[in-house]
Symmetry: C2
Subunit: 247 residues, 2 copies
């Protein structure tokens, strides 16, 4: 049995400069940055387990990781150590001691994502890395009505990247809500789990409804088809933010 403590880290990051969450042979990743810093101040290199991967360019406000730590520093001191050593685009928001059986991925019960669309006539340059700019005005009502069909338990195979591997593609969505603030459209989606690229493919598909390409009820057919080709494009990574993970 591993001696020491099990820590839950809540992490925010701007994913623009990174090759995604997960450690990779090439390119800098957020997980690698965190593990390097953790090794530096704890003196031991140990794997930090995230709640799930985020793609290159995807951001987070509430990513969660679990990390075995054998030291005696209290949580706030550990947080301060991380934040003084991390680059400014990664921030540890909270450090909590949790029970030994807590695992950031396996213990997760739900996740909430936010996708931001800049629907202004011209792109706001301050949001160029944090939103998808779509010049054509989208119909908020159509976006909302189409999104309602996503709620509940479905086989979401139509919204899974072709190379995504999972035993089952059935998931339950408990929120799929659009808000509009000025020219910005924000899609909040919460579910018990998400397939590879699922939120980005949902947004790329919903946009077709917002453009008036399909009537809202067509969303039911797209879900039923069960094939990636039935859905729309994969929305750009830059508009996506992992908001929170529930345990």
């Amino acid at each position: 049995m591993e001696s020491g403590r099990n820590l839950k880290l809540t992490i925010a990051y701007d994913g623009t400069a990174y090759n995604g969450w997960q450690v990779q042979p090439n390119g800098t990743t957020i997980q690698a940055q965190l593990e390097n810093v953790a090794a530096k101040f704890s003196g031991v290199r140990r794997r930090l387990a995230g709640s799930g991967r985020t793609d290159a360019g995807v951001h987070a406000w509430g990513q969660v990781a679990s990390w075995p730590y054998a030291g005696t520093l209290p949580g706030p001191r550990i947080q301060a150590a991380f934040n003084s050593l991390l680059p400014k685009d990664i921030v540890v928001r909270r450090v909590e001691d949790v029970s030994a059986d807590f695992h950031a991925r396996k213990s997760a019960r739900a996740k909430t994502y936010l996708y931001i669309i800049d629907n202004g006539l011209v792109a706001n340059p301050l949001l160029r890395n944090h939103a998808w700019h779509i010049r054509q005005p989208l119909d908020l009502n159509a976006l909302r009505r189409a999104a309602e069909f996503l709620l509940g338990e479905h086989d979401f195979n139509s919204f899974k990247a072709a190379d995504g591997e999972t035993a089952t593609s059935t998931r339950t969505l408990i929120q799929a809500r659009w808000l509009k603030r000025g020219p910005y459209l924000m899609f909040f989606v919460k579910g018990n789990g998400f397939l590879k690229n699922m939120v980005r493919i949902m947004v790329g598909t919903l946009i077709d409804f917002g453009r008036g390409k399909y009537p809202p009820a067509q969303m039911a057919d797209i879900i039923k088809a069960g094939e990636r080709t039935a859905a729309g494009i994969t929305a750009p990574a830059r508009g996506l933010i992992l908001r929170s993970v529930d345990y």
Copy 2:
């Protein structure tokens, strides 16, 4: 007399990567980027006059520039030419034909700035270049009461950078308003003109009130002092956005 048209450009930019608005011998500036692009598609190099300088790192949503143009392209085509050639952190939002006597700086009647403070316990990494992070909770009521003393016509010499040169330091403020949205404090300030660093020094001073260092009425004394040393620090450039210029 100059032949051709006089154009009014409304420009948004993320100032993070630039050495400010104004053309300089060293470093890339926003004005230089715009003039280079304008020379490229118009075939003639001409000075583009901004409504005023913005410092290195300061942003804009509604900077205005006037530019003499001898060509025949309609406004929307000129806008498209700019935006296809400019880097993604500078966007031309509008191009309008204006009368020959319009000058972006001399014709300006008022300007509105926004300053964003991230007052969360940890900095939001998505806002690290667009807000000033202050961890200590600020008293919104104290910020608002102190700001009210800035309204109206005053000699704002206390809020002028030591090297700022102007005939008179008397200006009139017609708005000085704080809004709070979640952990974010937003200061909207509108006036008939601003001295060098004036908004940033005002914010640096207001923060002292938000921290409870002075009672709100002390702001009247700071204004009356008429000396830079009476005011607070100069807030960082990154939180400042030139919102609009009125003509």
